[in-house]
């Protein structure tokens, strides 16, 4: 793939947060990978492995402590590091992507239609009648047209996500970010959201970056996948390669990282993920392995 096919390039990103005792906790450590134009990349990992932090770094909500995140949208001649851009440049990049937050993040003082219209009203000089047509189209795409005049408080969790998705696509973005799109949803609604993601990716020809730990969803929508573990990239591979790890006998997996990934994907409670945590001193005492008993 040529350089022009890489829309986001993450290079050696490190992110730390201060802890209560004044020290620093490293949440992301030397994270590097590329996101290619038109693909659906799933970023997965366990709780506390840095997925949300990575997403916040990708959208420049957090600064990085080391490394860089280069964007190359269609209107950029050269890639630019979003963490060194000025506010005007950064806003120009932000207009090229949309994001679906975990809870939808709809503005509670506005109706569904007003939420979707907001980016259009603020970032274009289009006539309000045209904005109304675009809003209708966007809501139709996510099957929320019947709810256009409702307030967010009147919507279910799945409806909020659909409305949030309509708002995220309002400016026809090049890149769509999804933060745990299936979180809190029943399996049927979750599947419906996944199909919506696939449908929109195909129709709008966007690049999709999905952060999730729902394996069913991940394998449904992914072209490629990134596995995070304790803030580090464990593996970047195609869906087929991850499927092979998922379906393999763990005893024949030579790479210890693959065995760890196998345990995570299959949701097993025995394996490298749980063994490496070990028993506490108290647990050893309980099972009588401590001397002195």
């Amino acid at each position: 793939m040529s350089d022009r096919d890489v829309v986001i390039s993450v290079r050696n990103v490190r992110k730390c947060f201060p802890s209560a005792d004044g020290s620093f906790i490293t949440v992301l450590d030397d994270v590097s990978f590329d996101i290619h134009r038109g693909e659906t990349l799933v970023i997965m990992g366990g709780s506390g492995d840095g997925k949300s932090t990575l997403l916040n770094c990708l959208i420049a909500e957090y600064d990085v402590d080391a490394g860089a995140i280069f964007y190359r949208t269609r209107d950029m001649d050269e890639p630019g590091d979003i963490h060194t851009m000025g506010p005007r440049e950064l806003n120009a990049v932000r207009k090229r992507f949309g994001i679906l937050f975990q809870s939808g993040a709809l503005f509670n003082s506005m109706t569904v239609a007003e939420n979707v219209a907001l980016p259009l009203r603020e970032h274009s000089y289009v006539d309000p009648s045209i904005i109304d047509i675009v809003v209708t189209l966007k809501l139709q795409q996510v099957k929320m047209l019947a709810h256009r005049d409702k307030m967010p408080a009147q919507l279910s969790g799945g409806q909020k996500k659909r409305a949030g998705l309509a708002r995220a696509t309002a400016l026809d973005p090049e890149i769509l970010f999804y933060d745990e799109p299936s979180a809190g949803l029943d399996p049927v609604t979750s599947c419906a959201i996944d199909e919506l993601i696939i449908d929109l990716t195909r129709k709008l020809r966007v690049t999709s970056v999905v952060v999730t730990h729902e394996m069913d969803s991940a394998f449904r929508i992914a072209d490629r996948m990134v596995m995070l573990g304790k803030g580090r990239v464990l593996k970047v591979a195609t869906r087929a390669e991850f499927e092979a790890i998922r379906d393999a006998d763990p005893d024949v997996l030579a790479d210890p990282v693959d065995r760890l990934i196998h345990q995570f994907i299959n949701g097993l409670n025995h394996g490298p993920l749980t063994d490496r945590e070990g028993m506490s001193e108290f647990e050893k005492l309980l099972v009588g392995t401590q001397t002195g008993l």
Partner: protein
């Protein structure tokens, strides 16, 4: 180095050592709190600077406009809905002033000066001050809670992700509404406070209402109103900036929102009274 086994009395730090450690820990906590307060003041100053920038760009440009609808909604919420409670409080303030001052003035044979004292006290001081304190609870707490809830619901993050400035959308309408409406409310408070004094003086002290009004008119000069309204405007800036800053820095879910709301009211009251003291000293020095 002690060779005593761990946990034995002679291996535990002595009383003096523990006392020194406690003093050190308390000093460190105090320094951290002081640093945090300085950081908060700096953050509010920066937020105020951002607000002024948005206002300037709104006056000069087209695309940086503040939403008129949003501003009007906030003015109703902060100002119009506070009129009732401000009037109620100020009526009592006027009555309390009149009854408290009456015995002392009467002992000097100057009971008729009640009108003068109530008017100056209300217009220069108690009108703006009490209005600001009422608004700290009524509007300040609700602004902090609302913005804090928006932070927790990722709405602020969503604004930034859509290349929209949260200061322009959320903070500036609340800032302008609070400053404009507190000045208006201070005027209402002045009128109602003087009326409270008048009614109490008439009903309880037998002072003729017309002579009360004449004394009030004679006592008040332009600078009394100006100083009172300038203070009210500054109090409005303090209330809005503290409330918005606390709201934007909420963390920790519902508990964090509750803490921010409480902190807003406490900080507003302290800031208002401290600023009032500074203004009073300045006006005294410059004979305003």
């Amino acid at each position: 180095m002690s060779t005593a086994p761990a946990g034995s009395p002679s291996s535990r730090p002595g009383v003096v050592v523990r006392a020194v450690e406690a003093v050190g820990a308390a000093a460190a906590t105090g320094l951290r709190a002081a640093a945090s307060s300085v950081a908060a003041v700096g953050g509010m100053a920066y937020l105020f600077y951002d607000c002024l920038g948005v206002c300037a760009r709104t006056l000069l440009g087209r695309k940086s406009r503040v939403s008129g609808e949003s501003l009007a909604a906030q003015m109703v919420r902060v100002g119009v809905r506070s009129i009732g409670i401000v009037c109620l409080v100020q009526i009592f303030i006027g009555a309390i002033l009149a009854l408290q001052l009456a015995p002392t003035l009467e002992s000097y044979g100057q009971l008729q000066q009640i009108a003068t004292v109530v008017a100056i006290a209300v217009v220069r001081e108690l009108g703006p001050l009490i209005t600001a304190i009422v608004l700290s609870g009524f509007a300040g707490a609700s602004i902090a809670a609302e913005i804090g809830a928006m932070v927790e619901a990722e709405e602020i993050k969503a604004l930034r992700a859509h290349a929209l400035d949260p200061v322009r959308f959320l903070i500036v309408p609340r800032f302008l509404a609070t400053v404009m409406m507190i000045v208006g409310l201070a005027v209402i408070a002045d009128i109602v406070g003087v009326t409270g004094g008048l009614l109490t003086s008439w009903a309880a002290l037998g002072i003729d209402p017309q002579s009360y009004l004449d004394m009030t008119q004679t006592a008040l000069v332009t600078k009394d109103f100006v100083t009172g309204l300038v203070k009210a405007g500054v109090f409005g800036v303090l209330i809005s900036m503290i409330a918005c800053y606390e709201g934007l820095n909420v963390s920790g879910g519902a508990e964090g929102v509750g803490s921010a709301t409480t902190a807003t009211v406490v900080k507003c009251i302290v800031a208002i009274i401290g600023t009032d003291a500074v203004f009073t000293a300045i006006f005294y020095v410059f004979e305003l």
